[in-house]
Amino acid sequence: MCHVVGMHEVTVAQSVVDAVLGEASAQGARAVTSVTLIFGELSLINTEQISFWIASFFEGSLAEGAEILIEGAPGKVECRDCGAISEVSVDPDDKLSHYLVPDFSCAHCGSPHTFICQGREMLIKSIQITK
């Protein structure tokens, strides 16, 4: 894994850039025109920062200027008591929602004994390339 100094958005951005450029060259691409990423709403990633760093690292590569699209995935918890899966409510318009106060209790029975079953993922969904 390549390490660049800085906050953890930078580490994650570098992983994205390595994977995208690796895939693009494996596909024989002339250019990468867009990259679609998925960040779960409970991942502790600031999407503005990550876009900025990915774009910076793309400079001078065949992905320079590629559009960076970011999709969310709602947080979900599974209840250890009743087994129900419920969505964790986070306000997507709240700029601080990536770290502010989601409620992890089970929406079905109210139990606090749940575990996060979705929402912490970080994925590269797809890339668009020209050949």
Binding site: M1, H3, V5, G6, M7, H8, T11, V12, S15, V16, A19, E23, Q27, R30, A31, T33, L37, L42, S43, L44, I45, Y99, L100, V101, P102, F104, S105, P112, H113, T114, F115, I116, R120, E121, M122, L123, I124, K125, S126, I127, Q128, I129, T130, K131
Partner: protein, 219 residues
């Protein structure tokens, strides 16, 4: 016109970290080593709690530590004074340890020479939460001087913690914080277990060690 095509990747960005973390965990299991990932803000008392743990457990178990910090020498000297091997990992400007740092830290040690490993994980409540190191239990240390709303500001790390330690409870009245509120908030975030401690006064340290023992016996 160049041909445009969409390439589906579906690739986990943290897959390399996940893979290395599970390799670390297999390595620890093979050598019968129980590993604690101790996280928490700068000044929350992580090093002090580890020092107490070493003192209370070193008669029963062979202990080693990884001191991960932006400059690791200060904390590693403190831990080494208790007569245990310490591997300093200076992260420079990196705000967290990842599985890769831990993998390299283990290269120069004899894994047959210890039973319990404490990993002190730099110092903040955000970045370490996203990175598995291969540990058996995650501990989050939070001090009352961080303000008693700190737990609700960082719910994910408390949700994923096997133990939350609310530390420095003796100074709560002087900093206007309620340790009981922090305890309640950690429970409501879903932290598996919560204890209150004061390293200075010795309060709660028996609960700290009893948690550690229960994890060691369970692995």
């Amino acid at each position: 016109m160049h041909k445009v095509s969409d390439v589906k990747m579906g690739q986990d960005i943290l897959r390399i970290n996940r893979r290395i973390a599970s390799e670390n965990r297999e390595l620890f299991d093979r050598h019968g080593i129980t590993v604690f990932n101790v996280m928490g803000a700068i000044g929350s008392g992580k090093t002090c709690l580890i020092e107490h743990a070493i003192e209370m457990l070193k008669g029963e178990y062979r202990i080693a530590c990884i001191a991960g910090d932006v400059v690791a020498s200060y904390d590693s000297e403190r831990m080494a004074r208790h007569g245990v091997p310490v591997i300093p990992v200076s992260t420079g400007k990196e705000c967290h340890l990842d599985a890769h740092f831990v993998e390299h830290a283990l290269e120069d040690v004899d894994l047959a020479s210890f039973d319990v490993l404490f990993i002190e994980n730099v110092g903040n409540l955000i970045c370490p939460a996203d990175f598995d190191l291969g540990e058996h239990a995650k501990v989050v240390v939070v001090s009352v001087s961080e303000g008693d709303d700190i737990v609700l500001k960082h719910p994910v790390i408390f949700k994923t913690a096997d133990l939350t330690v609310v530390n420095k409870v003796d100074i709560a009245p002087y900093v206007g914080a309620s340790a009981e509120k922090m305890h309640k908030d950690a429970v409501s975030c879903g932290s598996s277990s919560v204890i209150l401690t004061s390293c200075r006064k010795g309060e709660g340290l028996a609960s700290w060690v009893s948690f550690l023992r229960s994890v060691i016996k369970g692995t």
